[in-house]
Structure formats: C-alpha cells, structure tokens
C-alpha cells in the first residue's frame, strides 16, 4: 500500500489513500527513549486524558458529545519497544459521505481534543479526576495476582530483566504511583510536546488539505525530529528456574528465551520462521508434543518480542506433570537444531504471505504497516515477500544456536485443589 509524506511544521504526516472503507482512521505516535517511570506515567495519563477535556469536564458529557458525532472511537495507549516508548492516540470515525457533511472535521477535532485540550486547573490536571485514575491504576496493578495467566506474564517479564535500568516490578509501580501528584503528571504530559517526536498517519478517502488544516489548527508542540525505534539487543545469561505457589488447580508455565547475536535478516525473517515452527499454531512442535501427543495442556504457544530480542513460551499445564512438560519443551527446543522439514518452512511462508495480503483488508492494519516501515526498519511488503522466500532450513537451524533459555517461571498449582459447582 502506497503512502505519501507531507512535511508539517515540526512533525511528519503520512497519508494513505484508500476507498475500500466507510471510515477514516488516524494514528498519532509520540516517541522517545524509554525511562523506568514511563510505565506509571503513561498508564495513568491515558486514563486522565480519556475521562475529560477542557470543553467536557465529565465522562458522560464527553461521551455524549462523541455520540452526537456518530461516536468516533478514540483510544490512547503506550507501548514500550526496545529502547523507546511510544504514547499514541488512535481514532476511527465514519466518513461524512455516510453521515452528515462536516463530520470529518468535527470527529477529528473531537479526537485531537483528548490530547491537545485536556481538563487542566491551575497548572495541573483536575485533582479529583487524577486521584480516581491513580487509584484505579493502583488497584488494577494489585489485582494482577488474581489472574494466573496475567500474573505469570508479569513475573517472567520481571525476572528476565530486559532493561538495563531494570524493569519496574508491579510493586515498584504501585509504590511510585502512590507518590505521584496531578502536577507531576501534568509536567510529564507537557514534556510529550518538548521531548517526543511526533508522526501522524491518516488513512481513508478524504480531502488532504482539509485534514491538514484540522491538524495544523489543533496540534501544538516543539517536537523533536523523527528517529527510528531501536531494538534492545539480547544478552546471554545462565538458565535459571523460579517456582512460586498459587491456590489454583492448574500450573502456569512461562519460559523466557533470549536471541543473542542475530543478523538483521535473522531478526526480521528467520526468527519468525523459527518461532512459528516451535510454538505458533496447531502444527507447531510444542502443540504437537505437549498437547496432542501427551495431553498435558489445553494451550501452549510461543510469542516473539522482537524489539527485546526475546521470545516467551506460555502454557497452562497439569500441576502433576510439571517436570515431564518442561523436559518435553526443552527437547523440542533442542530439536530446532536438527529436526526441521521443508513442509514446516513452507507452512510458515504461506501463512506469512497471506497475512501480508490481508493487511489491505483492514484500515488500521494498513496504518500499522506504514508505521512499522516509517518508525522501525521494517521492509516494504514486496521486500518482505522476497526476503521471506529466501529463508532456508539451514537458516533456521543456525538461528537455533542463537536462542538461549533465560528463565523458566512456574506458578505452581495444587493438583489436589479440586472444587466444582
């Protein structure tokens, strides 16, 4: 999908024109180097910005105003990616061709007002809203331990120590948030427009000048020039295992893998094939062995976090068969050195190519694809197809030498803890 770049005052704007959809979508990405505290600031800030604006001081008033505009979707969030973090706003609204003239402008202005026209009193966010959002955040963090799957994901992430500055643990986040004030958060908010770089992406069927005018009138800030998102290179550590107890029937297992010393081609393409063969989908080695051949789990899968040169294997397993399951998983990881077939490689390539084709069926996927090309070093769709075709069995076997088990985390259930309705 082609895109067109327009240079604005101090940020970049990308237009992706398509007539396939009845909606217009826009994504605004604010990016800078990640710090330890971003996790807490961004999580509370997104809540505060979604609850009120300068024009609408309550959630119901804000939502009512949105519904009068055919309810544009507005989401605000953040992503930590390697050495950087992105704070983003995404919106999708119905093209005015299908509703009323003037709705494109009003809908986009409504979405932008969440980020550029917040509810501020005396140089800080409204304290009442801030305190509610802070309280919600703290309780959400405290509650993580109630969900065994989510808790396991948090714990393996904490134990992998992926950041040089040390990942903030759940407890550290709670402690840090407790001390935060509405003024602190507002200062962090202001820093977005001084320290971040901004990229704006708009997709759909629209008048470019009209969109530019809305953006020009609403976006304020002295943004830094754009830079590419940078991955965090993997380092090898000695394998370690950590077990914690839970009051559940099932055990949750997470295995953290680090990729060490990958080439650019391996990072972009071979690691995808490696991960899919090992643990993605029904045909993966892990699913065939752990679920189908040994009935030890309902789910097992591996997921890549490429910006951290890492991957994670997750499974909910029979509490009475932990040792056997871990042994079999390790065997399958070892099998990646030797036991790879053309059929397995072809399957992954077919799925990959289909996924590239389907990008054009979804407007947000189209935008995300352009974002990946602009902000990271992702290749174009055509280049991706060509490069994926080059991946060989030997490439995958060689990559296996660069995959190391870093941490095994087990949230151990109690096999005798049975209770039915």
């Amino acid at each position: 999908m082609n895109y067109k770049k327009a240079k604005m005052k101090n940020y970049d704007l990308y237009f992706i024109k398509t007539k396939k959809f009845k909606t217009i979508s826009a994504s605004l990405y604010l990016t800078r180097e990640v710090t330890k505290e971003d996790e807490v600031y961004c999580a509370i800030l997104r809540k505060v910005l979604l609850y009120a604006t300068n024009q609408y001081h309550n959630l119901d008033e804000l939502c009512r105003a949105g519904m009068a505009l055919y309810d544009p979707s507005v989401s605000i969030g953040f992503v930590k990616s390697g050495l950087d973090r992105t704070f983003y706003l995404e919106t999708t609204f119905v093209n005015e061709k299908y509703t009323e003239k003037g709705m494109n402008k009003k809908s986009l202005e409504y979405a932008l007002s969440h980020l550029w026209d917040p509810y501020v009193k005396k140089g800080a966010f409204d304290n009442e809203i801030f305190e509610i959002c802070k309280h919600e955040y703290i309780e959400t963090m405290r509650r993580i331990k109630d969900d065994p799957d989510r808790f396991t994901e948090e714990r393996i992430w904490e134990e992998m120590h992926l950041y040089s500055f040390g990942e903030m643990t759940v407890q550290a986040c709670i402690k840090y948030a407790s001390k935060l004030t509405a003024k602190d958060l507002y200062n962090y908010y202001l820093s977005l427009f001084e320290k971040d770089s901004l990229s704006v992406f708009v997709a759909g069927d629209f008048d470019e000048n009209a969109i530019k005018e809305v953006l020009d009138n609403n976006i304020k800030g002295n943004f830094k020039p754009n830079y590419k998102l940078r991955p965090l290179k993997g380092v090898k550590r000695k394998e370690r295992m950590l077990t914690e107890k839970a009051h559940t029937e099932q055990s949750k297992l997470a295995i953290g893998l680090r990729y060490v010393g990958l080439t650019d081609f391996e990072r972009k393409y071979v690691s995808l094939v490696y991960n899919n063969i090992l643990g993605s989908g029904w045909n993966s080695k892990l699913n065939k062995t752990i679920r189908l051949a040994n009935s030890l789990c309902y789910y097992i899968y591996a997921v890549r976090r490429l910006s951290f040169d890492a991957a994670f294997i997750y499974s909910g397993i029979d509490a009475a068969a932990t040792d056997k399951t871990i042994k079999l998983i390790k065997q399958e990881i070892a099998n990646m050195h030797t036991n790879i077939s053309d059929r397995e490689i072809d399957r992954v390539k077919e799925i990959y190519n289909n996924a590239l084709t389907e990008i054009e069926d979804n407007q947000m996927a189209i935008i995300n694809n352009v974002i990946m090309q602009v902000l990271s070093d992702t290749d174009s769709i055509d280049e991706r197809r060509k490069n994926m075709a080059k991946v060989t069995i030997d490439d995958v076997k060689n990559m296996a030498d660069k995959v190391n088990i870093d941490t095994i985390y087990l949230l151990e259930g109690d096999a005798d803890n049975e209770e039915d309705l």
């Binding site: 009845k22 909606t23 609850y51 309550n58 959630l59 119901d60 939502c63 009512r64 519904m67 009068a68 055919y70 309810d71 119905v94 299908y98 509703t99 009442e128 305190e131 509610i132 309280h135 919600e136 309780e139 959400t140 405290r142 509650r143 331990k145 109630d146 969900d147 065994p148 799957d149 009051h247 559940t248 029937e249 099932q250 989908g281 029904w282 045909n283 009935s295 030890l296 789990c297 309902y298 789910y299 909910g316 397993i317 029979d318 059929r343 072809d346 399957r347 077919e350 799925i351 190519n353 289909n354 084709t357 389907e358 069926d361 979804n362 259930g413 049975e418 209770e419 039915d420 309705l421």
Partner: protein
C-alpha cells in the same frame, strides 16, 4: 436466490440445498474470504431423542464442546487443523450454549479450504483412544476456567439464575462430567445434530463464482437420509431464580460482584429482534458511558471498574449479567437493581443511542467477519436474515421502546460475590 441488504451495498446469494443445508454467500471487495459452518447444537442440549432411537437420551454436561474438539480428528487423513495451516488459512471453532461453529479465513486456496471445512463436519471419527486423549486436554481447559475468579463469578451467576435448563452449566462441562463421555455418545449426538438440515453455511469476502456449485457437488456425493424433526427435552423454567445469593471464597485482591437477572419474554408480543435492540439501547442509556449511573461509579473510589453488562436470550428468558470489581461490597447490588428498575429515560437519550446503533449497522459491511457473523446470528435467532436491518434499526422509536421496557420484569435476580475467605 439473490437478496440485498438494503442501504448497505451488500448482496447475498441464498439457497437451501436438497439435504436442508442453508447456504449464504456474500461477495465483498476484499482479499480475504471466510466460511463458517454452524450446527444448532450447543451446550444447553443435554436430553434429546437420537435419530435412530425412540427414547430420550441424557448426555453429560460438556458433550457439545467435547464433540467440537473431536471433529478435528479424522480416520483417513491428517488432523484437519494441519490441512488448514498448510494452506495458510486461519481456522478455529467454538461452542456456546446455543450452537457449535467451525470457520476459516484465507485470501488464497478458498475452495481447497472450503472442502477441508466440509470434510471437518461430515466425517466423524471417534475411538476409545482418541476420546481418552482429549479428556486430559479438555480437563486442563476446564480447570483454567475455574481457576480464574472472573469466570468463576460468571459460572456461579448463570447457574443460580436458572433452575432447570442446562443453559445454567458451563459450556465445557465439569472435570467429572466429561469423564462419562464415550465414542457412542458422540456418534449419537453427531448423527442427530450434524445433519445438514440442522446447519448453516455462511461465506463472505473474496469468493470464487463457482462456490455454490462446488458446495452442491460436494454434498451430492453424500447420501443423507431425510431427518425427522429433532426432539429436544423442554424444561419448565420457573420465573424465579434458583438461588438469590452466593459467596464464593477465592484468593482475590478486590471483590468481584456479578449480578444476574432473569427476564421473562413469554408474554411479550413483539419480534425478538426488536426486543433485543430495545433492551440493548435501554441498558446503554442506564449503564453506558452517557449514564448518570456510570458517572457515579467513576466518582466512587470504592468501585474499581465500570459496571459492564452482557445480554443473552435463552428460549423464553433474557439473561442480563452485570459485573464489576469493588473494594467493599456495600450496596452496589442494590444500586444496580434500582437503576435497572427505574425505567425512566428520555427520548433525547434514546435517539442519541439509536443514532450510534444505526452507525454500527452501516459499518457491518466493513469487514468480512462482521457480515458473516450477522448473517449466521440472524438465522440462528430469527430463522432468517433480516435484509432490511437498516430500516428496522431506523424505525426503532422511543414510544415503542418505553412501552416494552415498562412491560419487562427486572425483579428476579441473583447476586454473586467472589471474595477472600475471612481470617
């Protein structure tokens, strides 16, 4: 026969095959194509007359879901999921209280994948060995559900809302019940509920022109006996809930509250579509983002998550399920009860909410899976596709909606608390 979704620019080729299968093909300007086949057999059917028998047969809770898992095993070919994946297709299946569905999507090799999908539902293969192997897997799925306090809250609430119907049981059943499932039980269920006349095939997206012909040719090779009407045991479900309160102890940080309502629509003289839409609008007005209730919840630090709701229709009753997380239980249940029973709302709020209902209807044609889902859902619930859905939504009005809400009885409720055991 060609039908058209009015005002949505979508055509559908609709046909009933000789064997009774209802087929809907909806071409769209997309790369992806999706096919879904649904049998009107869900987890709530636990007593029925098998096609070749005169007596009612009782089956264990969780059988429909178990059968869904086992449909992927085949005698003379490799696992069906492998075939989909080898063709680059995404595929999956699900069971709920009402139906079991199997589907795939892919931008290539559509007819190859469609054949695989049809093989999936027409070639059962259950053995003692493959049934035993599945038990361990499904047992882990069940245990994961009961380990999750939010799912436990839901299981408890639906169980206590209904007294007789198996709709009250978890879709997957229980660790104990699935141990009683045998290949014979699965074959009886299969031959009763997987006959094409009890199924719906819905296809949408980038569909080859010869698809309908392909489907007809596929089924022409299979000799289906004409099926007798399926007899499923009816339950005299009382208006009252089974149990009005339950406390479940779990190691949780915050309390989880789940509030179930059982609303009879037995004597309501209105099409089901309208009942559902009016109730949906009412609940958004009373509990959604524009409601005073939601504002109060947000400002109340004791309430940690917005009170969200879920609605499902089961025969003569609507099940409304509210859930939230709180620091202390206090009077939250009473607040939900009072707000639901207040029944006052303005025409302005009604029109505002229905405006967005209309927007959502316009956007049904955006995605291959949303139009596929709506066709499948309409046939399941209303027996036909509502091609005039746009006009139907547009015609919803305050007066009719208010009258319906005034006639609904929201007084039968059950309250579930998931909390930490006192020291």
């Amino acid at each position: 026969m060609k039908k058209t979704f009015k005002h949505l620019d979508i055509d559908v080729e609709e046909e009933v095959l000789d064997n009774g299968l209802r087929v809907f093909i909806c071409p769209m300007d997309r790369h992806e194509a999706m096919a879904k086949i649904t049998t009107l057999y869900g987890s709530k059917i636990l007593e029925f007359k098998p096609q070749n028998k005169d007596e009612y047969m009782k089956i264990p809770a969780g059988t429909a879901h178990f059968l869904e898992h086992k449909m992927f095993a085949k005698e003379d070919s490799e696992d069906i999921m492998n075939l989909f994946q080898q063709n680059g297709a995404m595929s999956n299946a699900y069971t709920n209280a009402h139906v079991t569905s199997y589907y795939f999507s892919s931008p290539t090799k559509f007819l190859d994948n469609l054949k695989t999908l049809l093989d999936l539902v027409t070639k059962p293969y259950y053995t003692e060995k493959n049934v035993a192997a599945e038990m361990g897997i499904i047992d882990q799925e069940i245990k994961a559900g009961f380990d999750n306090p939010e799912e436990m809250a839901y299981y408890t609430t639906i169980y206590n809302t209904f007294a007789k119907t198996p709709y009250r049981y978890p879709v997957g059943g229980y660790s104990e019940s699935i141990k009683k499932i045998t290949p014979e039980i699965l074959y009886d269920c299969y031959h009763t509920f997987y006959h094409p006349s009890n199924m719906i095939l819905t296809i949408s997206g980038n569909v080859p022109k010869e698809t309908m012909e392909f489907i007809k040719n596929y089924y022409a090779k299979i000799d289906y006996q004409k099926q007798k009407p399926i007899q499923i045991k009816k339950y005299e479900e009382p208006a009252n809930v089974y149990k009005d309160k339950e406390i479940v102890y779990r190691d949780v940080t915050n309390n989880i509250l789940e509030h179930g309502f059982k609303v009879s629509i037995k004597d309501i003289d209105m099409p089901l579509f309208k009942i559902r839409e009016y109730l949906k609008i009412y609940l958004i007005i009373k509990f959604g983002s524009i409601s005073k209730f939601n504002k109060k919840c947000f400002e109340n630090k004791n309430i940690l998550t917005a009170v969200s709701h879920y609605v499902d229709i089961n025969d003569d009753y609507i099940f409304i399920d509210f859930d939230t997380k709180v620091m202390e239980v206090k009077d939250i249940f009473d607040q939900i009860y009072t707000n639901l029973n207040d029944k006052n709302f303005t025409e302005e709020d009604f029109n505002l909410t229905n405006k967005n209902n209309l927007k959502n209807t316009i956007l049904l044609s955006e995605n291959v899976d949303s139009i596929n889902g709506i066709i499948d859902y309409h046939v399941q619930k209303y027996g036909k596709v509502l091609y005039d859905i746009y006009d139907l939504v547009k015609s919803l009005n305050y007066k009719e909606g208010k009258k319906l809400i005034d006639n609904l009885d929201f007084t039968h409720d059950t309250r579930t608390i998931i909390t930490k055991k006192p020291e």
